[in-house]
Each structure stands twice: as C-alpha cells, then as structure tokens.
Symmetry: C2
Subunit: 197 residues, 2 copies
C-alpha cells in the first residue's frame, strides 16, 4: 500500500477526518439536513476530495458507518462458538450504547422510514455484517459444535435481535448481562436445531 494510505498517512488521515465529520454531522442534524459541503468544512478538506473519493453523500455515510462497525464490532475467533457469540453480543452492546453508536443508530432508524437512501445504507450495512460474521458459524459447524444445517444468518440474527429489541422496541436498558443472555439463548436454540435452515 502507498505510504499515504498507511495508518497515519495523509490519505488515511483524510479518511478518518471525513468519516468522523460525516458521523458527527449525521448525529447532530440527521441525514435529511446533511450535506457534503458541511462535512468537508467540518473535516477541513475540500469538497471535491470527498466527491472524488466517495461519489455521493449516501456512499460516504455508508462507508463511515461500515468503518465504525468494523472497528468496534470485530469478528471474534476465540476457538469456541459459545465464547465467540458472547464476544459478538458484548461488542454489539458496546457499540449501541456508545455515544457515536447511539446517535448514529437513532439517525439511521428514524430517517430510514422516510428516506430510501438511508434505508438502503441500513440494509447494505447489515447484509455486509452477515457476510463478514458468517465465518464464525462455519467454524463452529466444522468443530461439530452445532448441527451442519444451522442457518448462519438466523444464528447471528438471534444474537443481535434481543439487544435491538430492547433498544428499539421495548425501550429497556442493554448491558453485559443482556448480551450474555442473548448469546446463551441463541446458542441453545442452535444446539436444539431450532435454527436449522
């Protein structure tokens, strides 16, 4: 990779500054009032830099959200499904309860209903997360921990669902205990074959 793209290089610094500006803009104003001009000003870069690199506002926001999630919810590989799922659930809780996570989720979820671009960002983001974490389930099947027919998508959704349900639907607090219970319930369901494809 060229020196400028290495962590700390000029391109990497621009990327970081632009993503931070996009996320704080999203949190403060919501997608509908966000502009590339505003993000460029916050990041201290020229707007043509943003247009050249990300094309559209929607693509920039999608990239910034994906980047935040990749850095805060890494794909675990602890050697056992149980601890992998607990780690995933705890990272999700850490993300959604963090200041940037909370405001971004609020913005994405409130605007998605009436803004097709935001709905698309959200949809692509979660589809990408599945593609990324699929390997956690494949490894578990290879180790013989769950039935071969277990649906990776359903198992991963089962870990995240109770956390998002409390957050978005029931409006109840989420913490480490909620994460651990979500992971344990998902694992029990998978072992019982209730999540087979």
């Amino acid at each position: 990779m060229p020196a400028s793209e290495r962590p700390g290089g000029r391109t990497a610094r621009v990327r970081e500054a632009v993503f931070a500006a996009a996320l704080s803009g999203l949190a403060e104003r919501g997608y509908a009032s966000l502009t590339i001009e505003d993000i460029a000003e916050r990041a201290g870069v020229h707007k043509t830099t943003i247009y050249r690199r990300w094309g559209t506002l929607a693509q920039l926001v999608a990239a910034a959200v994906a980047d935040l999630s990749e850095t805060t919810v890494p794909v675990p590989d602890t050697g056992a499904l149980e601890s992998d799922l607990h780690e995933m659930a705890r990272s999700i809780v850490a993300l959604v309860t963090s200041e940037p996570g909370r405001t971004i989720i609020a913005a994405l979820f409130s605007d998605a209903v009436r803004t097709p671009e935001v709905a698309a960002i959200k949809r692509e983001f979660y589809a990408a997360r599945y593609a990324l974490t699929d390997v956690v389930v494949r490894r578990a099947v290879e180790r013989g921990e769950i039935p071969e027919r277990a649906s990776a998508a359903d198992l991963l959704a089962a870990v995240a669902a109770p956390i998002y349900y409390r957050l978005l639907v029931a409006d109840l607090p989420v913490d480490r205990a909620v994460a651990d219970r979500a992971a344990a319930a998902a694992l029990a369901a998978a072992r019982a074959g209730a999540l087979n494809a």
Copy 2:
C-alpha cells in the same frame, strides 16, 4: 355496561370512529403533524368529545394503538406453551405486515427518536403487552413445561425479537415461517434454561 357502550352502541361507535381516524391520521401525517381537530373532523365528531374522553392527543393515540393490538394479537390459551408461542408469533407477524400495522409501526418508530410523547406511547404499549401475556408463561410453568425460574418478559421478548429485528434492522421479509422459527427458538432457549431470571 350501559347500552351506549356495548358493541354497536353510540359510545362504542364513536370510540371506533375516533380510533380509526387517529390511526389513519398517524399513518398519513406522522405524530408531529397530527392534531385532535383533524382527528375529530375525520371521525365526524366534535373535538370536545375527544378532549373530554381522552384528554390529550398522546393519550388518544396510545389508546388507539393498544386497541389495535388487543384486537389483532389476542392472548393465546391453547393448553400448551409451544402452540401458544406459535400463535403469538403468527399474530405479531399478521399485525406488523397488515396495512394499519405497518404504517403505525413506521410512524411510532420513526417519530419516537425525536418525540418524547411517542417514545412514551411506545414504551407503555410494550410494557402493557408484557403484563397481558405474562399469563402464557405462568400457565406453562404450572404445567411443568419450562423451568420455574424462566423469565416471562425474556421469553415473550425472545418470540417477538427476531420478527422485529428482520422488520426494523435487517430489512428482511417476515412471514409465517419466520414466526414459527422465532417461536421454536424461544422455546428451545427457555427449555435449556437460557432464559432463567
């Protein structure tokens, strides 16, 4: 009960017309643009009738949403937890995929983030649902189908969570198969003790 409040009586008809007007107004305009005057006009009643009976817009919308849910998601009593949970999951899917259900959920979820009254309506609504369906779990414990320590709130949330997750987060379709899988996974988790309090 006085004749006017019986189904088909004048009070019952007014109630029905006002609830229908509140829900269609909510679906079309969102909470922020909804007014009691507008609902009164849609329902063909005087606005003082609404003020006298429901007090505020928030209380009226809360009552209308609760009424919709009570009529479309009845509390099952089939004699076995498994069939009770499948019935509940299927009713939830039927509600959230129905035309009024979809628009109301969209309205409640998009506005809740920035409107404290809507957040309160949503919170109270789901708390009331738990209180109502609690009995399903109590009966199952009495019949010895799940551990005595099973958390009713967590079991009910486990049934609903995968449905709402697909709907609100992953943006995937929900149908009867999704409902049945949610019910089966929740039951497996409860039986394994993963949902104990």
